[in-house]
């Protein structure tokens, strides 16, 4: 702002005088006066608002007079109506126009320039805000901008071309300087010589309301009309900077400028964004006469934080009249000026080669060291150029001369061009883009350029996990090894066609879901790669293309060959070799060896006596033990007692539990009790029925023990009731209502136990395989009966049943050893109940035998050819006991014809009984006589069955009955009893029967049984034991040579029963004795028979009578086999444990 001139060079900028600031002022055609040379103007450099063209200080042109109409003077003194449109009302966010509305022209109000350029001091020429200023006179072009040959500015800008500046009136916030204040003289009209106007407060607006020229000349910042932190100019500068695109010139070096002298400005002096000197060509200008604003000497109110441009960069500020179109220099006009301005002529010949090479380090914004600090500068260009100093990194290979190709930079960032960047191997997360690129804020398709750079950068290899790294390496190796896919002949003819055309259907070698997929060669390669990576056997491409030979694809196969000539011929897909049917399992020596060892250990003791190791089970149970309780409990049974026997095992446990079942049943039967067999296992019930039938069959040796001649009768001697369904519920039902469940037997026959309750059972014996079954009995049956529950089980269930012993079980038998011991106890004499007293009739032909204190043995009745029958005075009566009618036959046998039938419950008289006791002769109420099965009869209590006559009775001489010997001794010969019991005895059934007439012995006296003696042949004394075994306690001893009476032997003939002199009986080992020949009379020519008192129990021990079957067959052999097998098993397991442990230790050490 020139303070010399009062001319309003910016009249064209003024508005039309309308107070409204929304109207654009009508531009004044008057060229600005700043473009007129004014030699009188002082040489002012600095931050004046533009230049008016009056650059008198340039010299040579000083005489050039500005064209008429052009205001000379310092430049902009007029209003800036275009600035009036920014009013607080229009934009609330808008800052109030400051005092210096033209600050942006000087660059002083820019935020970036804040602190670098001091706002221009208010010039007297600048009108105060709001002060109406008068329109400035029209300014003509300066002479230096005119060419003599060219059309004068007056012609270019005729007077009136530029409309007069409208007058705008506003009230400046501060006193504005006079319009001409501050304007250089050369910018003012010559007619109005610049007058030194003392710096006074100039109103912003003139009287018309327009921006005061005087104020503009002062260069004062336009102050805001409202209170704000920043001025309007500052705000505009902020907006402009935020939206502007950096110009290239900001990055271009300043050529030919050298190091400019720093402006000696007052801090209050505004350092406007002056154009660079090179641009203005001011390096050779004589700025002595330049106006203040041009030289930067104008004083402006101090503003906070002005920007400091680089010191070396200087540029002329833009004066007020810069934009005065009336005074626009030709070069500024759109049309090419007729004549180039003179100042440009200085640069016309200049070329880049003439200009000194710029020093990048001097630019400030290029920081090679990264720490260069921008030098202070008071012009905008240097200020802008110094932006981001120290942060911008340019490629090392790039030079300032090179045009930066930002597109190329965004496309392929070459990391090698950034030597300062850390190497790729180093972890650098996240990958960084250059900061300058970030700060540029450039976007590509909406995406930040920096982000693109980051995204395009590959992840460093070191960041990959090991698995992916190996996979990547493997993939690369596979790709390298993979042969190039044979393009085929078609590709030779038509290169690239395979990529377009789909490949032939591929038929993989193995049928799969992907059969028939159409794959391109590239897809095939990728598929092969995947297979190779996955470890699958990748089929060769040729094989993959081999079609499957099927009828459906025949045509395609031919087509395949025709099209792809040279392709592999049809390859028959070989079906996979069928797996050998019944692949033979590999024999494992270890298993075979173990099996052979165990089998040998179990079998050999049966045949090899030396392998019989271990002691036999004890002959007796320990006192107070559970087994002993079982024995004692059953041994206390009375004849006729009912014993509930539960059978809860199947064939799998038969080997272990059959022996226990047998001994229990034997004991019960020996006690004359009646077992009632039930069970929830139907197979077990059937098997028990079979066991009982075997025991009680006619040929059974057990009958001898029982002293019976007749077999055991079901539903009489024993009851096999039923199979109980529903397991535990069935047991509960039995416990609550036993009568209903025991009324019929296994075959549907009546058992006669219709009134029996659980309380009627004297004992409950259970043989169970599983603990659950036994527990069911203990929980459901035992609590509802007072009878003791006796359990026999195997080794597997015994541990789980131990807790029940005592509270629920009275006794417990476990496994085979207890069965053997139990069997040995059964041989004791006190087990068997004595036979009932024989009711011998006083018949002459029958004489009672000499009774002894011992129970009589069971004689065997042998009917004679002509037996006689002597009926008793009272015939016994019986009842037909059957559920259906009974056949009455002519004779004692089913081969006899049926005479009639007897109804169930009919009372009959029993006339006689057959010799075997199976048939009975009866007399019906109708008087019909016949034979019926004895099992279908029930005698009345106290009744006895008469002797059995023969079908053809004949008169025979009186038969004498030879009573059986009273002793229970065997015949004179040492005929050992069938069982290894010490005292084979026989019992007599309670039912007395009439003595039977037997054969007539010869007239000779009753033959005496021959006495068998033995002599001790041992070298030393021998023990006489209580039983046949070393486990029995010795009861005495005999010296060598002692003679004893032999009364029996054990089953295996290893022990001899002898009678000592004192009458005691004991057992001696057979090898220690020498049995003498029987003494006494020889055998009678006739058969020695004994008249039995009870036909039912008649059983005479004979010399050749078979020994009774042992309670436990092959007990000893089995026991020895078990022992040896168990020993071998223990050794095998121990050896295996040692070997495996050693192997584990060695493996660990390895």
């Amino acid at each position: 702002m020139s303070d010399d001139k009062n001319t309003d060079d910016f009249s064209w900028l003024r508005g039309s005088g309308d107070d409204s600031q929304d109207d654009w002022p009508e531009q004044d055609d008057t060229p600005p006066g700043w473009d007129q040379p004014d030699d009188n103007q002082p040489d002012l450099l600095g931050d004046r608002l533009g230049f008016t063209g009056d650059l008198a200080w340039r010299g040579g042109e000083a005489d050039a007079e500005p064209p008429a109409g052009l205001a000379s003077g310092s430049g902009l003194t007029g209003q800036l109506p275009w600035m009036r449109r920014y009013t607080p009302e229009d934009d609330p966010n808008e800052e109030k126009p400051g005092d210096d509305d033209l600050a942006w022209l000087r660059g002083t109000e820019d935020d970036l320039l804040a602190g670098r350029v001091e706002p221009p001091a208010p010039s007297e020429s600048e009108p105060e805000a709001g002060t109406q200023v008068s329109p400035r006179p029209h300014v003509s072009l300066p002479s230096w901008l005119e060419d003599d040959e060219d059309v004068g500015a007056a012609e270019a800008f005729p007077a009136g071309a530029v409309p007069d500046e409208p007058e705008v009136v506003w009230e400046p916030s501060v006193a504005a300087e006079p319009p001409d204040a501050g304007l250089p003289d050369w910018l003012l009209d010559e007619e109005e010589p610049a007058q030194a106007v003392p710096p006074t407060e100039v109103p912003l607006l003139d009287d018309t309301g327009a921006l005061s020229q005087e104020w503009l000349k002062t260069g004062e910042l336009l102050r805001d009309t409202v209170e704000s932190d920043i001025t309007f100019d500052q705000w505009l500068a902020q907006q402009a900077e935020a939206e502007r695109v950096p110009d290239i010139e900001e990055h271009l070096p300043e050529f030919g400028l050298g190091e400019a002298e720093p402006l000696a400005l007052d801090p209050a002096v505004v350092e406007s964004g002056d154009l660079p000197d090179w641009f203005l060509g001011l390096d050779e200008l004589d700025t002595s006469a330049a106006p203040d604003w041009f030289t930067g000497e104008a004083r402006l109110p101090a503003e906070p934080a002005p920007l400091q441009p680089p010191a070396e960069l200087e540029s002329a500020g833009l004066d007020e009249g810069f934009f005065d179109t009336g005074d626009l220099p030709e070069w500024f006009a759109q049309d090419a000026p007729a004549a180039a301005p003179g100042w440009l002529e200085d640069l016309e010949g200049a070329s880049g080669a003439d200009l000194p090479e710029p020093d990048l380090a001097d630019l400030g914004f290029i920081d090679e060291a990264g720490t260069a600090a921008p030098a202070a500068s008071d012009d905008i260009d240097s200020l802008l150029a110094g932006l981001g100093a120290g942060e911008v990194i340019l490629p090392a290979g790039a030079s300032a001369d090179d045009d930066l190709d930002f597109d190329a930079l965004l496309d392929e960032p070459d990391l090698e061009d950034f030597p300062d960047l850390p190497p790729p191997d180093e972890p650098r997360l996240p990958s960084e883009a250059p900061d300058w690129l970030t700060e540029m804020g450039a976007t590509v398709g909406g995406v930040s350029a920096a982000a693109l750079v980051r995204q395009r950068e590959d992840r460093p290899l070191a960041e990959l996990p090991d698995r992916l790294r190996k996979l990547r390496a493997r993939g690369e190796a596979v790709l390298a090894q993979q042969p190039a896919a044979d393009p085929g002949p078609l590709a030779e003819l038509l290169p690239g066609v395979e990529e377009v055309l789909p490949a032939a259907p591929t038929a993989p070698a193995a049928p799969s879901l992907a059969a028939g997929l159409l794959l391109t060669p590239d897809q095939r390669r990728r598929a092969d790669l995947l297979r190779a990576l996955a470890g699958a056997e990748a089929a060769e491409p040729e094989e993959a293309l081999a079609p499957v030979e099927t009828g459906f694809l025949e045509d395609e196969d031919d087509l395949f060959e025709a099209v792809y000539e040279g392709a592999p011929a049809e390859q028959a897909v070989e079906a996979p070799a069928p797996a050998a049917a019944g692949r033979r399992a590999r024999l494992k020596p270890a298993r075979l060896l173990i099996a052979l060892l165990v089998a040998a250990a179990v079998i050999l003791p049966f045949f090899v006596p030396p392998l019989r190791i271990g002691e036999l089970p004890p002959a007796e149970f320990a006192a107070g033990s559970g087994a002993r309780v079982v024995f004692d409990t059953l041994n206390s049974l009375r004849p006729g007692d009912l014993v509930l026997v539960g059978v809860e095992y199947g064939p799998t446990a038969a080997g272990e539990l059959d022996s226990l079942t047998g001994v229990l049943l034997r004991h019960i039967l020996l006690r004359r009790a009646r077992p009632v067999v039930v069970g929830t296992n139907p197979v077990g019930v059937l098997r028990t029925d079979g066991i009982l039938r075997d025991l009680g069959c006619a040929d059974s040796p057990f009958l001898v023990e029982l002293g019976r001649s007749t077999p055991l009768r079901p539903n009489d001697d024993y009851y096999v009731v039923r199979y109980l369904p529903a397991a535990v519920v069935g047991l509960r039902a039995l416990a609550q209502n036993a009568a209903a469940l025991v009324a019929t037997d296994l075959r549907g026959q009546l058992t006669g136990l219709a009134d029996v309750t659980l309380a009627d059972f004297a004992a409950v014996a259970l043989v169970g395989e599983r603990a659950e079954d036994v527990r069911g009995w203990a929980e459901q049956v035992a609590p509802l009966t007072a009878a003791p529950l006796l359990v026999a089980t195997g080794f597997s269930a015994a541990p789980l049943l131990e807790p029940y012993v005592g509270p629920a079980f009275a006794g417990l038998l476990v496994g085979f050893p207890d069965a053997v011991t139990y069997a040995s106890l059964l041989a004791s004499p006190d087990v068997r109940l004595p036979a009932p007293e024989l009711e011998l009739t006083e018949e002459p032909e029958v004489s009672a035998p000499e009774a002894t204190e011992e129970p009589t043995p069971e004689p065997i009745f042998t009917p004679t050819a002509a037996p006689t029958f002597t009926p008793t005075p009272a015939l016994p009566s019986a009842v037909i006991f059957s559920t259906q009618s009974v056949n009455v036959r002519q004779g004692p046998g089913t081969e006899f014809a049926v005479i009639t039938t007897a109804e169930p419950g009919a009372e009959v008289l029993v006339l006689a009984q057959s010799g075997d006791g199976l048939w009975s002769q009866i007399r019906l109420a109708s008087g019909v006589e016949g034979w019926v099965s004895s099992s279908l009869l029930r005698l009345r209590p106290g009744e006895g069955v008469p002797a059995t006559p023969t079908p053809a009775p004949t008169d025979t001489p009186a038969a004498t009955a030879t009573p059986p010997p009273a002793t229970n001794t065997p015949p004179p010969t040492a005929t050992a009893p069938p069982t290894d019991t010490p005292a084979p005895t026989s019992t007599v059934t309670p039912t007395a029967t009439a003595p039977a007439v037997v054969t007539t012995p010869p007239a000779a006296a009753t033959p005496q049984p021959p006495q068998v003696t033995a002599v001790v042949v041992a070298s030393q004394g021998v023990n006489v034991r209580s039983g046949p075994g070393t486990g029995f306690q010795p009861i005495g001893s005999l010296p060598p040579g002692a003679q004893v009476e032999v009364i029996g032997r054990s089953g295996d003939a290893g022990w001899i029963q002898v009678r000592l002199a004192d009458g005691r009986e004991g057992w001696i080992s057979a090898p220690l004795l020498q049995i003498n020949a029987p003494q006494g009379s020889s055998r009678a020519p006739d058969e020695i028979v004994v008249v039995m008192a009870d036909a039912d129990i008649g059983s005479l021990l004979r010399q050749d009578a078979p020994p009774p079957a042992p309670a436990v067959p092959y007990a000893e052999e089995r026991w020895y086999g078990m022992n040896l097998g168990l020993l071998v098993i223990v050794l095998v397991i121990l050896l295996g444990a040692v070997l495996n442990t050693a192997r584990g230790i060695l493996r660990r050490r390895r």
């Binding site: 190791i613 197979v683 369904p725």
Partner: protein, 222 residues
Amino acid sequence: MARITRVLAAVIAIGFGLITLAGLLVGEGLGFLSAFVDGLRVRDLAGLFLQLVVITAAVTVLIGVVNLLLVHLRRVRQRACGWVYSTVLLAAAVAVLAATVLERAGVLTGDPPLTRLLLEDVQVSVESALAGLLLFALVYGAVRATRSQRFSGWALLFTLALLIALAGALPLPELAPLAEARSWLLAVPVSAGARGILLGIALATLVAGVRVLIGQDRSYRE
């Protein structure tokens, strides 16, 4: 209809279960409640229900046998996998059934009876032999059990207990200490463990019964 059936099934099961439980609980020692109980005849009712259960279970077994035969018959007709074994099974079932019927009818009068021969000499023999083969499998399994990748104290304890239990059963005078150890082993830790197992079983059974009574467990319906 299906919903009604499900509800009805639950009502029947729960009702009968509660009545049976009440009848089982009612005993002769309930004191003053016996009067009410006798009057209600709950105990008899419970007994009746138990009898019905027994009959129902027997019929169920029969139905199961018939169903099994039908399944195998279908397999034979369809020549499905293993139809040969099904044929053998059907033939055996028919043969045993026929033999039993004929024996009961008196047609077959052999001694011993044919059914018994089949039971004793065929079924029992075969099943016993198979059970005997289990011995070898158990022995080999015990040997393999000691083969472990990691030798731990538990494996050692197991092996030691196994050897004591087996060796202690040998009737050898030299192994008398092992016999005593085995006796202690069975009497103390095994018995204690068995008691614990039994307690668990009892509690589980109780819970299962309660679940059925409250209708939470309806396994009796589809």
